[in-house]
Amino acid sequence: MSAGESASVTIPLVPPRTGDPEITSELVADHGLSDDEYERICRIMGRIPTFTELGVFSAMWSEHCGYKNSKRLLQLLPTEAPWVIQGPGENAGVIDIGDGYALAFKIESHNHPSAIEPYQGAATGVGGILRDVFTMGARPIAILDSLRFGDLDSARVRYLFGGVVSGVGDYGNCIGVPNIGGEVAFDRGYEGNPIVNAMCLGLMKKEDLITASASGVGNTLMAVGARTGRDGIHGATFASEELSEESEEASRPQVQVGDPFTEKLLLEASLELISSGSITGIQDMGAAGITSCAAEMAGRAGNGVEIDVARVPVREPDMTPYEILLSESQERMLVVATKGYEDEVHRILEKWELEAEEIGEVTADGRFRVLEDGAVVADMPALPLTDGCPTYEREGIEADEVRELREMDLAEHLIPEGDLTKTFLLLLASPNVASKRWIYHQYDTTVRTSTAVRPGGDSGVIRIRGTEKAIAATTDCNGRFVYLDPRQGAMIAVAEAARNLVCSGALPTAITNNLNFGNPLKQHIYYQFREAVLGMADACKAFETPVTGGNVSFYNETDGLAIYPTPVIGMVGIIENVSHISPQAFQSEGDDIVLLGENTAEIGGAEYLYVTAGLVAGFPPRVDLTRERQLQRAVLTMIQEKELRSAHDCSDGGLACALAECALGDGEAPFGVNIVLDDALPPVATLFAESQGRVVVSCAPNRTENVIRLAMDYGVPARKIGTVGGREGPFHVTAVSGQIKTDLTSLHQAYFGALPAIMNTPVSSEE
């Protein structure tokens, strides 16, 4: 017996509610519970659960709420550091950023809803993550989105992509939180199962931190915000299943509709409530609605709760306790009002024209009790709901086909077919490399007048008004690398996120992660998950970036086919002084261009292979965490000592594409470049391999010596590879036995023209 079970006391018998179905093994199975899990529930209860109780257990013990297949491995991730104020387990992680301020941040997925209804799925994903942040007492200051879709030659994928982007945009735009970055990738590996992860950052004074716990026996539970309807019932369980062709139609009622206007009111009202001191806890009713919200809040405080569902404001008549408890209607919160302060809570909510109803109270008996107009319909110990969920560690075995792909001989691909310049422009125009302007021009990036670096750079940067500091944030993960070698791929995700922050002038500080995987009950998926978590744990330790929370999204499969394992890293960093904010684009003609790090022939998993041969194969590039850390220290020192004019990480598309991005900037005032690379490598490798640990920097010619010396001090290889040319171009990159020779117009057209050209074709929901 686990701790959760031993807490069981005699639970009174609750008579079956008229109209509720009888508990049968089919019904139990429909609730996604195994026979063992059901037996465990009966042991905890000391009797057979009622239909309502079964629903509550099913939601709380779903993968989504109970983390049953991930919890044990997640415990391997580092979560502590002196600057961590709140680690995993709350609505959002919180770190100390100095000057009396704290930063709350979290990432969350909305993959399944977005696959069914892209606009609303994505919009409500943003809504949910905003609530997670402002319920900590923090005002949301930035959003990032990490997206994955199939290849854009499919009309259905374009429909999903377009819908998700408008959904992410419209919700954030309406609330007035700037989107400062993120990433998007396109690969057939995500064809049926898009990935939609949204991250939010919020700022607060340290003393305004509030946690989501139901403390203070006798305090009043209040339902706040939108009314409860029959939408999204059992969404948490739905998110814990694979999609099939039938899912799209059958599941549409489980996708909720967002109302950003109500959310904006909730945001303002919540922050006012928190600062008024009239409440002791507040939480979003997210997955599994009132159930998980109340159970989690009770669990954290070690208390019980009693709720009368007849007092919950509902949208439609005749809703059963089961439905009310499990509805996932959006824009609702549960507030714990200090006894005697209910009127104050009502007053604030009325100002914001929000509904609030007293629905129950915090109790001392540690039970999760639900009444319907005074009659008990569920009575269960609260703790086992949150802590008693069985957790599993499974056997993981790598799939043979992945090993074969990884070990594929790629030698023939190192010989370029045809003209290198043509290949380069093709690569630059690949949606994975090309400018994402088409996306972020639909996102408000400047509202709140604090965005110092907008999307399109290595990371987004928000200055903190009233201080000298700024916060940088990024999301990263190359799913192909993780697919080919989950441990290495996850380390790369962390390393690249940190590198992105450093290139913007920030010290990487903490992580929130979104682990998107297939069905963990399959051995090869569990293998991916385990290896990725292990790799992530190593990298987080190496970069001193603890994980303060996140989200696990399993069952990202359609018709049995899983997505690439995609452990998205959302990382935040602190820029000590806004004068350290560093651009990625070249700034001045005549500046020297210096490459930090080494080119290698590691072409495995590269975009080049996908674009030229449709291949996802080979060993992903190796990342040496110690050397990577040294590189990042060197870059940050150079930036802080004002040696550099620009810094940009090398990633998708390799060195050649990184140079193009530095040259083009935002496209308005590009520079030519003249680069000579003397690496004894095939030109394809030099130009397009995605070797790790490389940063392209530029500096005034009289600083070059310093820059190279500083790099040497950190043991980082560094050499001048060329100079920034004029406004008219050309763009020349010469490798040993191969050359890219083009002009800025072609470069511009390839890089900025690609996505608009694809997306301005008619979009329909039908293939």
Partner: protein, 232 residues
């Protein structure tokens, strides 16, 4: 100078506008949408955002909100009123400015830096600019496509009420430089008596180098200069 920034439920640039007005030395207060009596203010500003969610039509509900009657009275008495983005949409809906703002020609939300040409400097909002000056500042809207019939356009042009026009970085008019399809590339205009300005671009987001531009300051500085002249 005492400035009131009107907050409707769903406004989201109210704080930005507050900061901008404060930056040029104004005393600023938020005005809640239920507030009555605006006599204490020298100027009113209607911020961007999505008033009442704008689910019906941008500004359509804000137009009938309690505070609107007094805003109209304030404007009719010659008080300067600045509406930015959603504020502009509300002013059009309320009839303080002519014409309408409809869906962007692209049918998408457009958020980016654009260039404006200052067409008129004899307004209380633009006197600190040079005529023909090119400004750079962000836009962020889904419904900023200025629509008016030929007669109205003619009237606006003849009366010199088009204050800002979308142009390229070197000041040329073109379809490419017009981010939303607005008639005559109109980005901002005044009422007949010149004391009400509506504009889609966000000058309050272009007030500091760190934000990428300081070209928006002129709007607020002009207002400050003109109001202090009036007071003296």
């Amino acid at each position: 100078m005492r400035v009131g920034v009107v907050t409707f439920p769903g406004s989201n640039c109210d704080y930005d506008l507050y900061k901008a007005a404060q930056q040029i030395g104004a005393k600023v207060e938020f005005i809640w949408h239920r507030q009555k009596n605006l006599d204490a203010y020298d100027a009113l500003m209607l911020p961007g955002g999505f008033s009442y969610g704008d689910y019906l039509r941008a500004g359509a509900i804000a137009r009938i909100s309690p505070v609107m009657e007094d805003i109209i009275g304030f404007a009719e008495n010659g008080g300067p009123v600045l509406g930015i983005c959603n504020g502009f949409q509300i002013l059009c809906e309320a009839g303080l400015l002519p014409g309408a703002l409809v869906r962007n020609a692209s049918l998408r939300f457009e958020s980016k830096d654009i260039h404006l040409r200052v067409e008129q400097t004899d307004t209380p909002f633009t006197s600190e600019y040079e005529k023909g000056q090119i400004l750079r500042m962000p836009i962020a809207h889904g419904e900023g496509n200025y629509e008016a019939d030929d007669q109205l356009l003619e009237e606006l042009e003849v009366e010199g009420r088009v204050v800002f026009r979308y142009v390229s970085s070197d000041g040329e008019l073109s379809d490419e430089a017009n981010p939303n399809g607005s008639k005559n590339s109109i980005a901002g205009l005044t009422n007949k008596s010149g004391n009400v300005l509506g504009m889609m671009p966000h000058p309050e987001r272009a007030m500091e180098e760190i934000l990428g531009s300081i070209d928006g300051m002129g709007v607020f500085l002009s207002l400050a200069t003109n109001l202090s002249t009036i007071v003296l």
